[in-house]
Amino acid sequence: MQLFTDVSTAAAFALGLAALGSALGIGKAVSGAMEAMGRQPEAIGKIQTAMIIGAALIEALTIYALIVALIK
């Protein structure tokens, strides 16, 4: 089945898929962070820092997909 006859279609699809994966991952990470913040409000600073770092690391994978899509 000729789904991707054009490079731009494939690039857009790949990027959407990567965004889907990273959205699920970041959602899970942030939800865990929210729950922990709710349990222990005095540790909010530490948890927030760790959450931001985790989100940036997961986001990086989508950015790699963006770079490949931009090259193509």
Binding site: A43, E59, I63, I67, I71
Partner: protein, 451 residues
């Protein structure tokens, strides 16, 4: 000028060998304009087998937009200095054939070979009347083709994005020699000077009096102490109090430099140098050298390799270590970590640039649908949300870069035993508390001393 007019008259004479008789040069010039118009309406010179238009160029005539006002010309001047992309093979073939024919024609007419300028003028004149879109390759991705000073385009929107960004195609940024936009180096120089100035500013009060410890601190010193204190707390939280002071200069400089370079992308008429892939990769290379340097010097080579293998204990541990952990850690330390550091920063900032460019072009396109003459100068502002997003991501990615570097350094430092819970530096950093007087502490622990 005179030579070009001769070219014109020659062309007109040969194109209308049947029509024109013996007429003067001025009448020829006027007739040539009319003749060219007739040519264009007649299908672009198609099928006119005799004279200089053989082989014929197909395409529609180029409509020149009105010239924008001077300040916009200055803003987009770099568009004209964008790199010259090779024209398609077909155009070059046509050019060769045309040049040969033109030289023959000219020699037959005037009895002497034409100068290079005349040949160029003839080629330019032929090309300026058509858009060569039929002859570009199908998968050119809307590439901009510069042919003798004139831009001909297949897909206007896609090219304008890259023109506005003055980045050039991505595959041209990767080679180590060749295309390197000068703005990146200049703006990085500006960022470095700013960081040095900031360092000077932070220690201004301290330098005034060497004997006493603290006079009344100046306003600039207090301000910079907030900033430096936050970085200090971050480093101490991640690296431990013993080693933090050794690496704090590197991490602080890294953070400040990347922050400034990213924020330059938000300033009009400036460009974030971190949107250049080789620059972010070299910053990651600096981190790589620091990490490997501390690993090889503090741990010692043998101990470091042992540490990489995950400190195996028994035979099973050794087998696992040598076969799995060592290659994994080597790939991770030498390839994955530096590449990911650099590409993360580059992707975020370059992606933000592309996003802003696309939305600017979209605004201009929308304006052209609404009121066409205004779209030559302005466009509908669609970019503010993405400017805010860009601001957020610029600062965030600077922080993430510095934090990850600190974490990588902390991974190779010798692990100490559990120290007593003195002051939680990370919490101090995160809550913006530099001196530690806002933190709730019980009577057991003394308040952390300044400096």
């Amino acid at each position: 000028m005179a030579s070009e007019q001769d070219t014109h008259t020659t062309g007109a004479m040969d194109a209308h060998a049947h029509d024109a008789g013996g007429v003067t040069a001025e009448a020829h010039a006027a007739e040539m304009d009319a003749a060219h118009d007739a040519h264009d309406t007649g299908g672009g010179g198609h099928g006119d087998g005799h004279g200089l238009l053989h082989p014929p160029l197909t395409g529609r005539p180029l409509e020149h937009p009105p010239e924008p006002p001077h300040f916009i010309q200055v803003l987009f001047k770099k568009v004209d200095q964008a790199p010259r992309i090779e024209s398609s093979q077909a155009i070059q073939d046509w050019k060769k054939t045309f040049e040969k024919q033109f030289i023959e024609q000219y020699t037959a007419e005037h009895g002497e070979a034409p100068s290079d300028k005349e040949v160029e003028g003839a080629v330019k004149e032929q090309l300026s009347h058509v858009i060569v879109e039929d002859w570009l390759e199908k998968d050119s991705h809307g590439e901009l083709v510069m042919i003798d000073g004139e831009y001909v385009a297949k897909d206007d929107e896609q090219m304008t994005t890259l023109q506005l960004l003055h980045v050039g195609p991505l595959e041209k940024q990767l080679p180590l020699i060749g295309y390197a936009p000068w703005e990146n180096h200049v703006f990085m120089g500006i960022a470095i000077v700013a960081v040095l100035f900031f360092a000077w500013l932070a220690t201004k009060g301290l330098r005034r009096d060497r004997r006493s410890v603290i006079r009344k601190p100046t306003r600039s010193q207090v301000g910079t102490e907030l900033f430096v204190g936050a970085i200090d707390n971050m480093c101490m939280g991640l690296l431990g109090e013993k080693h933090a002071r050794r690496y704090m200069p590197f991490l602080g400089t890294l953070f400040t430099l990347i922050l400034l370079m990213n924020l330059m992308g938000m300033v009009p008429l400036m460009k974030a140098p971190t949107s250049y892939v080789l620059l972010t990769l070299s910053l990651a290379l600096c981190t790589f050298f620091v990490v490997q340097g501390t690993a090889w010097t503090t741990l010692g080579p043998g101990s470091y390799i042992y540490h990489l293998m995950g400190q195996p204990k028994g035979a099973f541990g050794w087998a696992l270590g040598v076969l799995i952990f060592l290659p994994l850690e080597i790939i991770s330390d030498f390839i994955a970590k530096p590449l990911s550091l650099g590409l993360r920063l580059f992707g975020n900032i370059f992606g933000k640039d592309v996003l802003l460019g696309v939305f600017t072009v979209m605004g201009v396109g929308l304006m052209s649908l609404i009121y066409e003459p205004l779209s030559h100068y302005f466009g509908i502002p669609l970019t503010p949300p993405f400017l805010l997003l860009g601001l957020l991501f610029s600062t965030l990615q600077a922080l993430v870069f510095a934090l990850l570097s600190a974490i990588y350094i902390s991974l190779v430092l010798p692990h100490e035993h559990e120290e007593e819970h003195g002051v939680d530096h990370l919490e101090m950093a995160a809550s913006g508390d530099v001196l530690g007087d806002e933190m709730a502490h019980d009577g057991k622990h003394p308040a952390p001393s300044a400096a």
